[in-house]
Symmetry: C2
Subunit: 244 residues, 2 copies
């Protein structure tokens, strides 16, 4: 099998899992949790899992592997840098909106913010994501950034990118677990440990999220699937450096 055929099979699996995650989290919130609104009620809270899973996990994961698609390798890298940065910005904005949903809900019910371990890890994840995006913009998109800065930043950017995905997965799984403990053990006739339909469905959503994350890591860890650095790009980088 051609390496690129194997890539496209894995990439298709990644996209399908990502789509399933978004569908599952939306269905959970609308079918079992009453749907959506933006009025400080529990229906506003429902935006939180949908936006975090869609932004912080799925869109973030897809943006991470954008350079790996072989059909883009013959094109210049710069437009794909813009696609990468654009998708990441959208993922960051969705995540921030997801945080606003939960903070507004807490405010409306006079509930304290940021006490659970889930919330501690979650807020660190979004803060690191915002920091990484600004650092990436300064290092790789601003034309006057010096070459030594780009070279130093690149391995940090790659490591931090993977670290944020790990943190996103931890935040989402601990959050779904926490929500199920609250709603099923709090007021439901069927507690979580009787594994009602909602619990089975939301647990399956958690497994899908983990599977998506591991496929993204699989794509990232295969050296053969890295975009080759062409000579032209290095020259472009050097020219940018010399004219800066």
């Amino acid at each position: 099998m051609q390496p690129s055929v194997f890539f496209y099979i894995t990439y298709t699996l990644c996209l399908c899992l990502g789509l399933l995650c978004v569908l599952f989290v939306s269905y959970w919130s609308s079918q079992w949790r009453g749907g959506f609104s933006w009025d400080g009620s529990a229906l506003q809270f429902n935006w939180h899992p949908v936006l975090m899973v869609s932004g912080l996990v799925v869109l973030y994961g897809i943006a991470l592997v954008v350079y790996r698609v072989p059909s883009t390798w013959k094109q210049k890298k710069h437009p794909w840098k813009l696609v990468h940065a654009g998708l990441m910005l959208l993922a960051l904005l969705l995540s921030i909106l997801g945080l606003c949903a939960v903070f507004d809900f807490h405010k409306h019910f006079n509930l304290p913010d940021l006490y659970s371990l889930h919330s501690w890890v979650g807020i660190c994840t979004v803060a690191m994501f915002a920091f990484q995006w600004i650092l990436g913009l300064a290092g790789f998109l601003v034309p006057c950034s010096p070459l030594w800065f780009r070279n130093t930043l690149k391995p940090v950017h790659i490591w931090l990118g993977k670290a944020i995905l790990i943190l996103s997965l931890i935040s989402c799984i601990s959050g779904i677990n926490e929500k199920l403990l609250f709603v099923l053990n709090g007021s439901s006739a069927e507690p979580y440990n009787s594994l009602p339909a909602e619990a089975k469905f939301a647990n399956s959503l958690g497994i899908l999220i983990v599977a998506f994350g591991l496929v993204v890591f699989g794509i990232l860890s295969k050296n053969k699937w890295q975009r080759p650095e062409t000579e032209g790009e290095s020259v472009h980088l050097l020219l940018t450096e010399e004219t800066s």
Copy 2:
């Protein structure tokens, strides 16, 4: 700064964070949760977080980076393979003992097993870990394993090794969060959202676990810190293949 100096600083940080994780989880269980026993009571449950954090996260993480220590590179690889496999076996046994602790506790109180998302991810983690250990033994330690099998297995083994660490981190953080929700919101005078001392301490344990995991990933993601494959090792591998 010499690359190996930077490695040893990072490695020392990794070991210190690992030690802190073990100390924090032991202190949490003994100071706030009443200590340990093996009699089916809540004190038996207390072994669960201690054994999972020590085995599935800390020992597992240390075993993952054992080949990266530069002072071992001048020695033959085979003894270090045995160290890697031995540490992994110990980590696996501690994790299985940690599962026994919680299953026994559930049995004693007639509580159902494996209903929460935490438990679904956790059981998958230990199952994948056991599968990976057996596969690693068959592929890299049994002398008669064919070369094509080793070569095919190696990238899968590396990816699965990282995947299991991610799953371990997810399992531990969701588990600590779940335990705090149970014990603080269940019978405690100070609920989780009032952030009593126990909550602050156990949340900090969670952050330490995440930090340890990310430092291990940092060590693994630096190509310069990979053990160089010497010619002798390749010849040894070929000879093993030819005589098999």
